[in-house]
C-alpha cells in the first residue's frame, strides 16, 4: 500500500476513534449527571444536627462560573465561602434558630442553626479572583475558571 494511502486511512481511523471517545465521554457525563440528580433527590435537605442544605444553581460562561445560593434567614456577616480545586464550600449561621413548627417528628423537632453545602464544579477554579455578593438572603459567587496551559 502506498504510504500516502496508508496515512489517509490512519487519519480516518483516528477521526472515528476520537468520535467514539467523545460519544462515550458524553454518555458517561449524562449517566453521572443523572446519578447525581437522583442522589440529590434522595438526600434530605437538612440534618438532625441542625444544618440546612441550601438550594443553589450554577451558570457557566466561557471563562467563569456564576453560582447563586439561597440562604434565607442567614446572618450574612457569618457567611464563609471557601474554595478547593473545583469545589466551593459555603457556611453561614442563621440569624436566629429556626424550627419548622407544624411538622410532626423528623425535622419538625430539630432546631436549625446553620447552612452548609459543598458545590462541585466541572473544572478547577481560580479562587483568588472570586467575587461574592449577598442580597436578601441570596448570595452570588462569581469565580473564574482556572486557565489550563497546554
Amino acid at each position: 500500500m502506498p504510504e500516502e494511502e496508508f496515512r489517509k486511512i490512519l487519519k480516518k481511523w483516528r477521526e472515528i476513534a476520537r468520535g467514539v471517545d467523545e460519544y462515550i465521554e458524553e454518555e458517561f457525563k449524562k449517566i453521572e449527571r443523572e446519578v447525581r440528580e437522583l442522589k440529590a433527590m434522595m438526600e434530605p435537605s437538612w440534618t438532625s444536627n441542625g444544618t440546612l442544605k441550601p438550594l443553589y444553581s450554577i451558570r457557566e460562561t466561557p471563562d467563569s462560573y456564576i453560582i447563586y445560593v439561597d440562604i434565607p434567614q442567614a446572618d450574612e456577616g457569618s457567611l464563609n465561602v471557601g474554595f478547593q480545586k473545583n469545589k466551593v464550600i459555603i457556611q453561614a449561621k442563621l440569624k436566629k434558630e429556626v424550627r419548622l413548627t407544624g411538622w410532626t417528628g423528623r425535622g419538625g423537632e430539630t432546631t436549625f442553626t446553620q447552612y452548609e453545602e459543598t458545590i462541585t464544579l466541572p473544572t478547577p477554579i481560580n479562587p483568588e479572583k472570586a467575587k461574592v455578593r449577598a442580597k436578601k438572603g441570596i448570595i452570588e459567587i462569581r469565580v473564574p475558571k482556572k486557565s489550563i496551559t497546554p
Binding site: 440529590a40 433527590m41 435537605s45 441550601p54 438550594l55 444553581s57 447563586y68 419548622l100 442580597k135 438572603g137
Partner: protein, 257 residues
Amino acid sequence: MMVFREEFFGDFKIVEYEAFRLKEPGYGLIALPDTGLVGVIGAGHLVKSLQLKEVGGIDSYTYLPPIAVVSKGDVRLPIRVFAGDNILAIYSEFMPSAPAIPLLARAVLDFMERRGVRFLLMASGLPVQNRFELSNLRTYYLTNSSEARKVFEGMGALPFENGYLVGPYAMMLKEALKYHVEMALLLTESFLEFPDPEASARNLEIISKLLGKEIDVKELIEQAEVIRIKARDAMKAAIPNLTKMRKDYELSTPLNI
C-alpha cells in the same frame, strides 16, 4: 378521610370529602409547582387568608408518587381541593410527570366546570436571569376577559404578547381553550430555581383586586424568608420535572412570531 363523592377521569381520581356549592360567579384557581413555586406559595396564602375549606382531593396511582398528605390528623390526597364563597382552589406541591399533565388538566377543568367555575385563574412566575438585581417586579397577563384586562392594566400589569410558555400552566392554557370559560394567567418576574414569595405577593395583589376580596400580603412578605426555608424541598423536587419539560425554551428567542 370521609368520602362523600368519588369519580374517575382516566387514571385520575377526584374525591369530595363533603358537599359544597360555589357562589356565582365561580372562580377557579389552579396552583402547581412551577417557576419559583410562585403559584403554589401564592395559593397557599390565598387559602389561608380567605379561610377556604379543604373539601376534596385528587390522586392518581399511575401518575403521582404514592403519597398521603396528613393535615391536622386527617389523611388527605396529594392534590388538594379547597373551596369557600365563590372560589375553588386546586393546590399541589407535587407534580405528575409531564405526559400526565394534559390528563390532569382535563380532569381538573371538567371538575371545575361542573362545580360552577366560570373564570379560570392561574398565577405563576416568569423566570428572569437578572432576578438577583431586581426590586420592582413586573407582572404580565394573558387573558380572554376584557373585564380582567382592565383590572390587570389598572394594577400596572403588562400584556404578555409574544414568547414561549413551558410547563404545567402552558398545558392548562392549551386544554382550557376547549372549555368555554374566561381565563387569565398572571406571570410575575421571579427566580426559576428558588422559591420566590415576593413574586407570589405581587400576583396576589392583582388577584385580590380581580376577586374584589381583601388578601393581605403583608404577612407573606414578612414571612418570606421562613417560607423560602420551608419551600426548599418542594422546589428541589420540581426542578428535575421542569428540566425534563424543557423550561429553558421560555428564555429562548422566538424566530418568527
